[in-house]
């Protein structure tokens, strides 16, 4: 029996999702391990090899924030896909975190860093993938 066109739907979906993943890794720093492009075990640049730093900005003070464990999932998402929306979600969750500084919160700065390794020595070095400045929006 000749295959019908709709028999190919699953593989068409697989290829379409994989092409989207390849594009996103190149234009939006999606981790190669993520997004269904079959890039797992191909690069050290997975979400596990990235980290996030967050800063509260009040007038002249820029203070690093500790990201609490309940925000681990949001942080993982941002590490895998450092998009504006994921940064915004984390910044919103961090906005009420107390700091010893005075004055109104102006913005939350979110940085996503990735570790790369020297091709010869394997020595690690850090590089910033993306940085976001999310202004505080009062409800």
């Amino acid at each position: 029996m000749r295959p019908r066109w709709w028999w190919y739907a699953p593989v068409a979906l697989l290829i379409a999702v994989a092409l989207r993943q390849i594009v996103l890794t190149h234009i939006a720093n999606l981790a190669p391990w993520s997004g269904g492009g079959f890039g797992m075990f191909a690069s050290v640049d997975g979400w596990g090899n990235r980290h996030v730093a967050a800063f509260a900005i009040r007038s002249d003070v820029r203070r690093e924030l500790e990201i609490p464990p309940p925000l681990r999932e949001a942080t993982r998402r941002l590490r895998a896909y450092p998009s504006e929306a994921n940064a915004q979600a984390l910044a919103t969750a961090l906005a009420d975190q107390p700091t010893p500084d005075e004055g109104p919160l102006e913005a939350i700065e979110i940085q996503v860093w990735s570790t790369t390794y020297d091709p010869v020595t394997t020595a690690p070095s850090e590089g910033m993938l993306r940085s976001f400045r999310i202004p505080r929006v009062d409800p």
Binding site: M1, P3, R4, W6, W7, Y8, A9, P10, V11, L13, L14, I15, V17, A18, I22, T25, L30, A31, P32, W33, S34, G35, G36, G37, F38, G39, M40, F41, A42, S43, V44, D45, W47, R76, R77, A80, Y81, N86, T115, T116, Y117, P119, V120, T121, T122, A123, P124, E126
Partner: protein, 301 residues
């Protein structure tokens, strides 16, 4: 004295024919059962989705008359897809493949020729998944072919720890020092290339080229038209990949899924190959449940 009947169809010598029970195993049923078993062995998704998938997989396995019911598989396809959509950037590659496969099973059960539709999907999904994996390793990744990926991963990924100690011949403190170095916690002379033990570098090189080599062979074999090119070797290559890879990389769920898919396209006359798939499923199960690497380390000690 009787002579052979010249009009009778030729029969294969008895010794070369697989036993009848092997020929009776239906590839589609086996594939569906193994897929449900994979869902039971590695429950996936958030708690709500997980409970629903476990219930459906148990139902499908214990009520044979419902094993081929399209509604069962359409629901599983929907649940596995929702699981991926809810967390698309964190879902593993095999979460995606599982969703595509459940969709393929649903479509096959709605098709007039279920076996042909499922076999086609098995070949294409496995072939393309491996082709994309090879594309990443050979072309898109900046740190795979030069060995960096395995040099780092063998040290930092806890799932490889026992293998790294066993194959790399590393004592616990040596592994700890190298780990600290690649994590940037230690500024030592290990920065010089010679500080990485030669045996560990050789293991990383072997892992690098074996992995991409066998994946490329699987991709070519599974995407070759039937009866042409490397297609004759597709089962052997996939079985070799699963039996070697999942001994080291403890992601049994991916192995079980590939084997569940692979068995669906087994030629009905190749009963032994189907048994090969079942045996490989058992081998990956054993890798998952038994600490072979730890036993190896204890034996060496």
């Amino acid at each position: 004295m009787s002579t052979p009947d010249a009009t009778a169809p030729p029969t294969a010598p008895a010794a070369r024919r697989p036993p009848a029970w092997l020929e009776d195993l239906d590839a589609t049923d086996l594939s569906l059962r193994l897929t449900l078993l994979t869902l039971l062995l590695r429950p996936v998704g958030s708690p709500g989705i997980r409970v629903a998938i476990l219930a459906l997989a148990t139902f499908g396995l214990t009520v044979p008359s419902r094993l081929r019911h399209p509604a069962l598989w359409a629901t599983l396809a929907a649940l596995t897809s929702i699981r991926v959509l809810l967390d698309w950037s964190l879902a593993d590659n095999h979460a995606y493949l599982l969703a595509y496969w459940c969709l393929a099973i649903t479509l096959a059960l709605l098709a007039r020729d279920t076996g042909a539709c499922l076999a086609l999907n098995a070949r294409l999904l496995i072939g393309w998944a491996f082709a994309l994996a090879v594309l990443w390793k050979l072309v898109l990744s900046p740190d795979y072919l030069d060995g960096r990926f395995f040099r780092v991963t063998l040290l930092t990924d806890e799932r490889f720890a026992d293998f790294t100690r066993l194959a790399g011949g590393l004592a616990t403190d040596e592994l700890g020092a190298l780990r600290a170095f690649v994590r940037g916690d230690l500024s030592i002379d290990a920065g010089a290339p010679g500080a990485f033990p030669e045996r560990l570098l050789a293991v990383a090189r072997l892992a690098t080229f074996w992995t991409v080599g066998v994946e490329a062979a699987v991709a070519v074999a599974w995407l070759s038209p039937l009866g042409r090119g490397l297609s004759f070797a597709r089962d052997v290559l996939l079985l070799a990949f699963c039996v070697t890879t999942y001994a080291v990389a403890t992601i049994a769920g991916f192995g079980w899924l590939l084997l569940s898919m692979g068995i669906a396209q087994c030629d009905p006359h190749r009963g032994r190959t189907r048994v090969g798939y079942l045996a490989a499923f058992g081998v990956v199960l054993a890798y998952d449940g038994l600490p072979f690497m730890r036993w190896g380390l204890d034996w060496l000690r």
